[in-house]
């Protein structure tokens, strides 16, 4: 992993060091999962559920994505996903739209960084 890449990830709100700790110092392993992350459909599915207004489904998707973001130390995403998940758990969709837009921005930034480096 080049230092440029690491810096980009940092700028996009990732705690790279903590993540590498989890992956036993293996940058290759971490990067493998970064790539898998952008190939995963969880974000798209979350978007869909929010669009259709299905709170229960949206909760499951948000919860799942939160888990992944946690493992990969995407702090910028977690900032939005944590409150989002709790609201959806209660069935509260009032703030969802704004949160979704914020999430989209941050997700796309991360996506671009990872894509660029593959």
């Amino acid at each position: 992993m080049e230092s440029v890449y690491k810096q980009q990830l940092l700028d996009a709100g990732t705690n790279v060091d903590k993540a590498l700790d989890r992956f036993m110092g293996s940058e290759a392993l971490y990067d493998k999962f970064l790539l898998k992350f952008i190939q995963d459909t969880c974000y798209k599915q979350l978007e869909e559920c929010i669009k259709t207004g299905n709170a229960t489904e949206a909760f499951m998707q948000a919860h799942t994505m939160k888990g992944i973001a946690g493992n990969l130390e995407f702090e910028s995403l977690l900032e939005v996903l944590v409150p989002m998940t709790e609201q959806l758990r209660r069935g509260d969709m009032t703030m969802i739209k704004e949160e979704q837009e914020e999430l989209k921005l941050r997700y796309e930034k991360l996506y671009a960084v990872i894509k660029e480096n593959h």
């Binding site: 700790d21 036993m24 110092g25 392993l29 999962f33 898998k36 992350f37 969880c42 888990g67 493992n71």
Partner: protein, 796 residues
């Protein structure tokens, strides 16, 4: 009378005669017997008859009949033939009835000629008298060939002595059939359009016809359009011309009948085929009914046992022993029932084509290890010796239906174990025969020295519900569906099963299976120069297999076949300061076994050299003894390359601690030989977890929701899993419910099994919930390595 005639005394007489004849309607002419048959003189009637006035005749034909007949060479030919025949036979003349061309058509003429010995310019002279017999002929024709009302064709033929047929006459129908004109009759070649068979039939009858006998037979001929027609030929001899008979032949077109007959034949054939198909369908239906009957019986028996036992237990609630006994029997019957139902469902799926093979990513080595572990309890109870040989495995990572492949292999291995009397020997050989175009061709051989099978049974073995008719095995449990299903599944994969067996001696099942190759992990050459490993196994082939594996990853290797030799050689090396890097040792050996050898080795070479016990047998039994003796780890056979690398790496890395960036203790840990169940609903998270936790060497089974977790545990043999890591928030069934159910399974291992909750929530109430459900501990998500390590260490 013409003045041009030369006058002589006799002329007058002729003139009178001629005049008389002329009045009678008779033509008289005088000809030279030259090649032209030159007309010298003719009476008026001659010219009337032919329709050309005398001047015209002279101008057009120069008094030469051969010119006159120019367009009718056949008629001229016939005429000339007649003349020369007559001369040859020194006759005075000849008679001929022939069709003569006249202006505007043809007429039937009767010719009577007389030769004289008068000469003109040296050429003889002949006189010809001609009478018009057209009318007479017509009548006769009408009489003889007025058959247009008849349903057939009629023709008159002369049968020549050489077997040829000359057609004399034919009716319109015939002409139409043959596509010829009336005037072509004499030139027509009859029977020229017969097919070969008919030709030979005709030839057979020709001799009879030459004798004038009546004939009846059938021929096939083509008509003018080339269409085939079947004709019934009926011939009668109606006269003779010299030695040659004249036949009147009536042809009846029986094509329709013949076609009908052919059609009928086809219908009969079809009817026969339908009958056969019906028979077959009936038999299949019968087979299905038999199947249902058998199945119902096989289901009812254990079901009855369950009902009965439940009732008894209910009636003796306070009799603990009795109740336990009933429960045991219920468990046994339930398991049998479940397996039967599964098998029948499988059969049904296969038969209706609904069985879909999935494309799982799997590792053959791991799959086999799982298989062996699952069958270990059975092997142990029958005290069998188990040998496993792994050959030529270049590609471990393939794509296939993991569940079904396991099902097939387990079925065959289970049969080998079941049908081999105690203390038997079972050999499993796995071979990668070749690979090309992204497909690997694998061979799994299961050989036993058990009862074997008789040839009659062998031929039926893959049919449903077939079990051998043998007193000895009547007591062995089995549904008779296993082989049938396995066989079909393997066929679906594009492989096959070869079965060899000798009654009383043993059997060999060879399964050939092509599997799509995956991206292979490149086997790193992890060998460090100077590093060598000792392999100890009484099975030579197994030794060689392991050594080949080692050499392929760049590690030098020695092997011995006994514990004693191992101690000897290891001691030597250590004394020479060239100690082995590690020792891989088989557990069960005659003479010194693996554990005893380990003890001696420790005494001989000290505590540093890693000793890894490799065994086909149950780890559980020997684990504590082995650890006490000084062994470092356990690997289940078969030992495959990726596993070997994984294990060795751990020991190599241990040596190179300084190479690590961060002190991750995970790689220090060695949980090889342990197995945990990891339950997590998200695929990506699951992969990450497997990757991280797997680096400790522990084997990981996965489930994607609580229900699957419960199923996996209940279907596993006792003690299969040593720990469960369970996500809490999952679809279908959450972690709490799953834990409750698992704890409630009537098994020995689940009561004490560590079940660890994994959850993103760290609220105290969640911790309480977890404990209440029966979970031992609680790990926060995302995975924290240190916490994980602690948990693994504590519980494994």
């Amino acid at each position: 009378m013409d003045e041009h005639f030369s006058q002589s005394g006799t002329d007058l007489e002729y003139r009178l005669l001629v005049g008389l004849m002329g009045q009678m309607g008779v033509s008289v002419s005088k000809h030279l017997l030259d090649e032209h048959f030159t007309l010298l003189w003719a009476n008026d009637f001659y010219y009337d008859m032919i329709g050309y006035p005398k001047d015209d005749y002279e101008t057009l034909f120069h008094n030469r009949p051969d010119l006159y007949y120019k367009q009718y060479p056949e008629l001229w030919e016939a005429l000339g033939q007649k003349v020369y025949e007559a001369i040859e036979n020194k006759a005075n003349g000849y008679e001929l009835i022939t069709k003569m061309p006249v202006k505007g058509g043809m007429r039937w003429i009767k010719l009577n000629a007389t030769f004289t010995d008068q000469l003109q310019n040296g050429i003889p002279i002949s006189y010809t008298v001609m009478t018009d017999v057209e009318d007479i002929m017509q009548v006769r024709l009408e009489q003889t060939v007025a058959y247009d009302n008849l349903p057939g064709f009629v023709a008159k033929y002369k049968v020549k002595q050489d077997g040829r047929f000359i057609m004399i006459e034919a009716n319109d129908k015939y002409l139409d059939f043959a596509g010829i004109e009336k005037d072509m009759i004499s030139a027509f070649c009859p029977f020229s359009r017969l097919d070969d068979k008919s030709r030979s039939v005709l030839n057979e009858y020709i001799p009879l016809m030459q004798k004038g006998e009546s004939v009846h037979f059938v021929i096939r001929s083509k008509d003018k359009n080339g269409t085939d027609a079947w004709l019934q030929l009926n011939g009668e001899c109606i006269g003779w011309e010299g030695k040659e008979p004249v036949y009147l032949v009536v042809f009846i077109d029986i094509t329709d009948i013949t076609e009908q007959r052919e059609l009928q034949k086809k219908l009969e054939e079809q009817s026969e085929q339908l009958k056969e198909a019906l028979d077959f369908a009936e038999k299949a239906n019968q087979a299905k009914s038999d199947f249902l009957a058998r199945m119902s019986h096989d289901i009812r028996t254990p079901m009855n046992a369950i009902v009965g036992m439940t009732a008894i237990a209910g009636a003796h609630v306070d009799d603990k022993e009795r109740v336990l006994d009933c429960l045991n029997k219920i468990t046994g019957a339930s398991k049998l029932l479940l397996s039967l139902i599964n098998e029948v469902l499988d059969m049904s799926k296969i038969e209706s084509g609904r069985l879909k093979l999935s494309d799982d990513e799997l590792n053959i080595g791991e799959l086999l290890q799982d298989l062996i572990i699952m069958m270990q309890p059975e092997i142990r109870s029958k005290q069998h010796q188990l040998d496993i040989h792994l050959m030529g495995m270049q590609h471990e990572n393939v794509i296939g239906d993991m569940q079904r492949i396991k099902q097939v292999l387990m079925n065959i291995l289970s049969n080998a174990i079941k049908y081999t009397p105690d203390n038997g020997r079972i050999l499993i050989r796995i071979n990668e025969k070749s690979s090309r175009d992204g497909i690997g061709y694998y061979e799994f051989v299961f050989e036993d020295n058990g009862r074997g099978m008789k040839p009659e049974f062998l031929s039926r073995i893959c049919q449903p519900f077939e079990r051998a008719d043998d007193q000895d095995i009547a007591g062995i449990q089995g549904t008779g569906l296993g082989m049938s299903i396995s066989h079909k599944i393997v066929q679906m994969m594009g492989g096959d099963i070869l079965i060899e067996s000798e009654y009383g001696k043993g059997s060999r099942f060879t399964i050939n299976m092509p599997l799509r190759l995956r991206e292979q992990d490149v086997p790193e050459a992890i060998g460090v120069p100077g590093m060598s490993i000792l392999v100890v196994d009484d099975d030579r082939i197994a030794c060689q297999g392991t050594c080949n594996c080692l050499e392929e990853i760049g590690v030098r290797c020695d092997w011995v076949c006994s514990g004693e030799e191992a101690v000897e050689i290891a001691r030597e090396r250590s004394e020479k300061n060239n100690a082995y890097f590690a020792i891989i040792m088989d557990l069960k050996m005659p003479g010194l076994n693996g554990i005893e050898t380990t003890q001696l080795l420790r005494a001989a070479v000290g505590p540093d050299i890693p000793i890894i016990i490799l065994s086909a047998y149950d780890v559980e039994e020997y684990e504590s003894d082995a650890k006490k003796a000084g062994a470092n780890g356990f690997i289940t056979k078969p030992l495959f390359k990726s596993k070997l690398i994984q294990v060795l790496k751990r020991f190599i890395d241990k040596e190179n601690v300084r190479g690590h960036i961060t002190p991750t203790k995970l790689s220090d840990a060695d949980f090889s030989g342990k197995r945990i169940l990891l339950v997590e609903d998200n695929e990506l998270n699951l992969e990450i977890a497997v990757e991280i936790i797997g680096s400790t060497g522990v084997s990981i089974d996965t489930a994607v929701n609580g229900l699957e977790a419960v199923n996996k545990v209940s279907q596993s043999p006792e003690g299969f899993y040593q720990m469960i890591l369970m996500d809490v928030q999952m679809p279908v069934m959450d972690g709490y419910e799953a834990t409750r159910r698992i704890r409630a399974l009537g098994r020995a291992d689940v009561s004490g099994m560590p079940i660890i909750a994994m959850t993103a929530n760290a609220f105290s109430e969640d911790v309480t919930n977890a404990l209440e459900a029966g979970m031992n501990y609680h790990l926060a998500k995302p995975i924290d390595i240190i916490a994980l390590m602690a948990v693994l260490d504590k519980y494994l």
